[in-house]
Symmetry: C2
Subunit: 147 residues, 2 copies
Amino acid sequence: MTMNRKELLTRFIQEVWNEGNVEAAGRYLAPRYTVRHDPGDPWHGKVLDLTEYKERLRRALAPCPDQHFELKELFADSNAVVATWFWTATHTGELAGFPPSGRTLHMSGATVYDFDGDRITGHWQIIDRLGVFQQLRQTASAEPVAG
Amino acid sequence: MTMNRKELLTRFIQEVWNEGNVEAAGRYLAPRYTVRHDPGDPWHGKVLDLTEYKERLRRALAPCPDQHFELKELFADSNAVVATWFWTATHTGELAGFPPSGRTLHMSGATVYDFDGDRITGHWQIIDRLGVFQQLRQTASAEPVAG
């Protein structure tokens, strides 16, 4: 079967993460999904079945339901597609111990998505979590948002 | 000219960054090097000539002269090679305001290296700087290293 993994990954990010369609994950993921490397992620190093992946997704979406990944560049080689991305989200739920602020958060990251055929089998990821903590700290010490 | 950019990048990281051979940078870099994205890096967004790149290198090596990048995976596509890596360093100079501790620091990151022919023209990078800050804070609040 001919497939374009960059296109598949783009659809996965848009449909599952940006639109928050948790049920659609099963159309993209392999039965077992390995979080090979993801410092600070509670699932770092774990192997997830589809039910566990959906739970990870729900928990990740909860603090910022409108979160949006903008894919910047995609690189395909061997069994992987590497994505660089920018993330924007409105902080409407508790995040890393910080109460909802209503403010817009920004982050960037780079993720290696592993494939087996046309299914995603896991990832290796670095996100700029210090950048987000700095925004959360600034927000917590600033004036409350009106309204 | 046939070239293998993964091999070139591996040699560049080993010779210039791991062995600290600042002068060797000129054999790998294009005349202008663009730090496209590197949150927290003082050269984020800047275009460097070779002299400026060497200055960046000297300042980056100063706090941890024995720092070592272990390349984990390399992905080549279009005009780039993406590297995932682990970094280990002994903290022997002031780093991010923390005095030398003599302890071993660990970090991981992912870097897109841009090429023009066989020359590196810049990078887009995310490093887990929060992980390093956490280690530096733990160290600063712990017992001094004996000796």
